[in-house]
């Protein structure tokens, strides 16, 4: 198969997996997913000669960069503005104690959000994209050992954050029986 044909096959096979990857990182802004995914495959098309035999982790790597480009310059300031603007909502969320009022796993997300961006990504790739260490290394653009080390550390830090916010969550679990 030519590079073009390999690209088309990878596109058909992985379009939705890449969409999910992007959607998971856009915090519910689903209307932007399509645009970012289009950019991911445009970049992948330009670099189609580099497409590895197992393309998905590599596509995740491309997607990670596209997302960073899409949100960083404009987005980081934007997120801060959003956060500033949503103070009242955020405060409200902290005092709400009813599990029904929160989306499932909201507190896990909260624990995750307290970690560095790098830690978050290695954890998401493992838990949500279900990558093994070898694929993780491809997606992160590092060696297998480094990937493994990063995952190990990130897990430890996530555990610590979960333990830190556990008092509230433990009581919720009890109330559920």
């Amino acid at each position: 198969m030519s590079n073009d044909e390999i690209f088309a096959a990878a596109y058909r096979e992985h379009y939705w997996a890449v969409s999910r990857y992007v959607a998971r990182r856009l915090d519910g802004r689903t209307d932007e997913v399509e645009e970012v995914v289009a950019e991911v495959f445009t970049v992948a098309w330009r670099r189609r000669a580099d497409l590895p035999a197992t393309p998905l982790p590599w596509l995740y790597g491309v997607a990670r960069n596209c997302l960073a480009n899409a949100v960083r310059g404009y987005g980081r300031r934007r997120r801060l503005v959003d956060r500033l603007g949503n103070d009242e909502t955020a405060r409200g969320r902290q005092i709400v104690d009813s599990p029904d009022a929160e989306t499932p796993g909201a507190w896990v997300h909260e624990a995750l959000a307290r970690l560095s961006a790098k830690d978050q990504e290695v954890l998401r790739l493992t838990a949500w994209e279900e990558l093994g260490v070898d694929d993780l290394a491809v997606a992160l653009g590092c060696g297998t050992r480094a990937a493994s080390m990063r995952l190990h550390r990130a897990r430890r830090r996530l555990r610590a954050e979960i333990d830190r916010i556990r008092p509230t969550t433990a009581s919720k679990e009890r109330s559920h029986g």
């Binding site: 379009y15 999910r20 209307d31 899409a70 503005v81 500033l84 896990v108 838990a127 949500w128 555990r159």
Partner: protein, 316 residues
């Protein structure tokens, strides 16, 4: 209690078997994009590409700064916020919009932009730094366009400025020079902005991928997107002034001299934690600049109340 990865797995916001983005055949949009890619064979881009390419320059600069590992104290003083002249009178936006309406329709709309900007690069673990740069985007008759980004701070001509790698470079150093192949996009903000207020309002909504009516904060963000793509003619400027005049919460505060030395009328809009100042030409109603400052300290980001978060001054 389950282990941390298991907990995280259960909190997957978009699971494979969820209602959206599940595996299956491509939808119409995805199929069309594949056809476009396969059909072009040369390096044409989809409509988002050049907008992203433009932000990529800034993103590259910011990321370089964030990940250089230096404990960079700001090498240059961050710009001070614009000061409203104490003795000046403020002109209501509606008056300015009426003035803009009366301006003759010359000069006309031009694709591309010329903007001087100062933007704060913020990091979780390093002090913020301000990057001053000038960007010129010019479109050619064949649909291609070029973008030139130069490190410069017009307030200090000839003095070195902070650049992409977090180091000082000579004033005027080219940070990037790129030419992009023809683009065929016809969606906002690549399509020409209309000169009728209601249609312009819809255009701005589409340009920022917003489905509902824009609030004033979103509108000001959309203005930035628009002016980063187009140099407005008097008719579009008049329409924009009208749209802005209809927005809630923009208060006239008086006259300022912007960082390029131009006199303008200032209107401020307060959000929680930030204030955006819109600067408009008092004679023509054209938007000259937008400045966003912090109104309270954000220690996590190392910023103080009064720090300038971003500032763009557009030129012809």
């Amino acid at each position: 209690m389950a282990d941390e990865l298991e907990l995280l797995r259960r909190a997957n916001p978009v699971p494979v078997d969820g209602p959206h983005f599940g595996d299956g055949p491509l939808d119409h949009h995805a199929e069309r994009q594949l056809n476009r890619l396969m059909g072009q064979r040369t390096s044409r881009r989809p409509r988002l590409a050049w907008g992203l390419a433009a932000t990529a320059v800034v993103a590259a600069i910011v990321s370089a700064l964030l990940f250089t590992g230096q404990t960079t104290a700001p090498a240059l003083a961050a710009p001070r916020p614009l000061v409203v002249r104490a003795d000046s009178t403020s002109v209501p936006l509606k008056t300015l919009a009426e003035r803009a309406q009366a301006v003759d329709g010359v000069p006309g709309l031009r694709r591309g932009t010329h903007v001087q900007s100062w933007s704060l690069g913020m990091s979780d673990d390093k002090p913020p730094i301000t990057l001053p740069e000038e960007r010129v985007v010019r479109w050619n008759a064949d649909g291609s366009h070029s973008e030139l980004v130069v490190a410069t701070d017009p307030r200090h001509p000839g003095r070195p400025v902070l650049s992409g790698d977090g180091e000082l470079v000579d004033d005027g150093q080219v940070l990037s020079r790129q030419t992009y192949p023809p683009s065929w996009s016809d969606a906002p903000p690549q399509s020409p902005p209309p000169s009728e207020p209601a249609r312009l309002r819809a255009y701005l909504r589409e340009a920022t991928y917003t489905r509902t009516e824009l609030n004033t904060g979103e509108l000001l963000d959309a203005v930035e997107v628009l002016l980063d793509h187009w140099t407005l003619g008097d008719r579009q400027s008049a329409a924009l002034a009208r749209v802005l005049a209809d927005a809630e919460g923009l208060r006239p505060v008086g006259q300022v001299t912007d960082r390029l030395g131009r006199r303008g009328q200032a209107y401020v809009y307060d959000r929680s934690g930030t204030r955006t100042m819109l600067i408009m030409d008092p004679a023509t109603g054209a938007v000259l600049g937008l400045e966003t400052t912090f109104t309270r300290a954000e220690s996590e980001y190392g910023v103080k109340a009064g720090d300038v978060m971003s500032y763009s001054a557009w030129m012809r």
